[in-house]
């Protein structure tokens, strides 16, 4: 079990040792790998205080002087609190600033809705010039760090809070570069998901159940990889699963791409409801309440397959 944040920042640290233009900024958000970075590369680390807005403006100034900047903070705050900075400071100037959005979805389970990042995907992908990527395991996070360094651009990398085992098949750098990873092949239904919900989806599907169900890890939601349409065009129906509210998230992004690409297929989606949760009991309980548990996912897939028998 590995933390995505440590996988990303460790890779960043290794590369930053040989590149003094790589800067890591934190709004008082930590990680063991970050401690290593700030202790050994103090000239390339900046503690910004709990000031996400200033952190992003500062990142713009650094980037304007040729630095490659990584901003790191807790997902709900580094996404929405400084959304206007992402637009006006880094987005409009299209600067090579990569923001690590750590703890997306319901990751901060019992902390409550102030700490949930369940609208961030819609907000961040709405900003012109943005690239929005989501890690579903630590290996994807590590590969996203490599890709971010090799392709400096205005981007957001969404990381999960919880440690996890790497999902199979193990991600390769090409998966990240092309923006998606094929987890399972199938023709009857394409399930498109990412992040924490990818693991839940694979758990729902199990080893050999649901013959004909493809599962796609959509690493890059914006821009939508053109290859995604090739895959889902070959399937009879599409189901998206996400840990975001209904407006503007992964399901919306896939549906928009289908409309733009004139791909007409039965389309279904599972999202969080339009509701803030204040319940205790952890993330699994919250997902159960939101009808996003592995059992709910399995039921949804069953219902779709039953509606269109092979």
């Amino acid at each position: 079990m590995k933390h995505q944040r440590d996988a990303f920042i460790t890779e960043l640290f290794d590369r930053a040792k040989g590149n003094k233009d790589i800067f890591l900024l934190s709004a008082d958000f930590g990680a063991p790998a970050l401690d290593q970075f700030r202790e050994q590369l103090p000239e390339q680390f900046i503690h910004c205080g709990i000031s996400e807005q200033n952190m992003v403006d500062l990142a713009a100034g650094l980037a304007l002087d040729g630095r490659q900047v990584f901003c790191y903070a807790m997902a709900p705050f580094v996404s929405l609190r400084c959304l206007e900075q992402h637009k006006c400071a880094t987005g409009i100037m299209n600067l090579p600033v990569c923001t690590l959005v750590a703890g997306v979805g319901l990751g901060y389970a019992d902390a409550g809705p102030t700490h949930y990042a369940t609208e961030d995907l819609a907000c961040l992908r709405a900003i012109i010039n943005s690239h929005v990527l989501t890690a579903s395991d630590a290996e994807v996070a590590r590969l996203l760090a490599i890709d971010a360094i090799e392709r400096p651009r205005f981007s957001f990398v969404r990381l999960d809070r919880q440690p996890s085992a790497d999902l199979l098949p193990v991600a390769k750098i090409d998966d990240v570069r092309r923006g998606l990873r094929i987890m399972r092949e199938g023709k009857r239904l394409a399930v498109v998901t990412h992040g924490f919900m990818l693991g839940r989806t694979l758990e729902a599907i199990g080893q050999d159940l649901f013959d004909g169900v493809a599962v796609i890890d959509l690493v890059q939601v914006k821009p939508i990889p053109s290859e995604l349409l090739d895959h889902i065009s070959r399937c009879d129906a599409i189901l998206t699963i996400e840990e975001q509210t209904p407006s503007g998230g992964l399901g919306a992004a896939v549906l928009e791409a289908m409309v733009d690409g004139a791909v007409v297929k039965p389309f279904y989606r599972l999202t969080l409801p339009e509701q803030y949760f204040f319940d205790n009991g952890g993330r699994a309980k919250l997902l159960e309440l939101a009808h996003l548990s592995p059992q709910h996912i399995a039921e949804k897939i069953n219902a779709i397959l039953a509606a269109a028998p092979a």
Binding site: E43, I46, C48, G49, S51, Q53, N54, V56, D57, L58, A59, A60, G61, L62, A63, L64, D65, G66, R67, E84, Q85, C88, A89, I92, M93
Partner: protein, 269 residues
């Protein structure tokens, strides 16, 4: 200071040029542009903002006009210095040009996009920190309106710049007292601004923002201070055109009758 007349004449030219451009465009932000004109003239013609010795036509130091609506005030100066091609200034309002009411980085000499208030100080701090970590003696000036002090991000930036001892960052506050709905002290009190910024750890000066003796003297002290510093320049919104002076509605351009236009031009002679 014996060369004050030189700066005053430069400022008259800048005011006339920007006014005539707004007449041509029938839009713009005259109140704010005219209030900071003397500060901008002092910065550039006083060589506080230095040209790049290795690249003529480029500036070595950075200027961020955080109050982006007044960026156009810099264009006549940058054009005069050869940073902005003269044709770009001439074309503005007549033909294709790079120039815009709000600044952006496609315009030579404009070092950041601005327009939304409260971003400039943070961006300037990023530049300043980067220069220091490269070991470069490059200055970063940021011109902030007092209206921006309502934005929390400005105070985040002050905290940061002070902690990191950004002695190559120079904050200039254009304190013309007016925001859209009136006087700041009536709308929502900002004072005492100088003491507040001093409390954040800045060596803070104040001056009459239309008196070149005071402006130049303050800037000289800031450069020599080698510590984070700020100048609170007391200005008059719309300075130089009596019908616009201290009139909140002249934040934006309004149509003028021929008689009013003549009065304005008379003031600017």
């Amino acid at each position: 200071m014996e060369n004050v007349a030189f700066f005053e004449e430069k400022a008259r030219v800048v005011r006339r040029q920007i006014f005539e451009k707004y007449v041509l465009l029938q839009q713009g932000h005259p109140g704010s542009s005219l209030s900071m004109a003397d500060l901008a003239v002092a910065l550039y013609y006083g060589s506080f903002v230095r040209m790049d010795p290795n690249d003529s036509g480029r500036l070595y130091d950075k200027v961020i006009v955080s109050k982006g609506h007044a960026t156009a005030c810099l264009y006549p100066i940058l054009s005069d210095l050869g940073v902005i091609p003269a044709q770009e200034w001439e074309n503005w309002g007549r033909d294709a040009t790079l120039l815009r009411l709000f600044g952006n980085t496609r315009i030579p000499g404009i070092d950041a996009v601005s327009g939304s208030l409260g971003h400039g100080l943070g961006i300037a701090a990023g530049y300043a920190l980067s220069f220091k970590r490269r070991g470069l003696d490059r200055r970063v000036f940021v011109i902030v309106s007092e209206g921006e002090l309502y934005e929390g991000s400005v105070w985040e930036g002050l905290l940061f710049a002070s902690h990191h001892r950004l002695d190559n960052l120079y904050i200039i506050i254009d304190r013309n007292n007016l925001i859209t709905l009136g006087d700041t002290e009536t709308c929502l009190r900002l004072e005492p601004i100088k003491q507040k910024i001093e409390a954040f750890g800045f060596l803070t000066y104040d001056c009459d923002g239309h008196d070149f003796n005071e402006i130049l003297g303050s800037l000289e002290q800031m450069i020599n201070a080698r510590t984070p510093s700020c100048l609170v320049a007391k200005t008059v919104k719309g300075k130089g055109v009596r019908m616009m002076e201290n009139k909140p509605h002249w934040h934006y351009w309004h149509p003028l009758t021929p008689a009013e236009l003549e009065l304005c031009r008379k003031d600017l002679r």
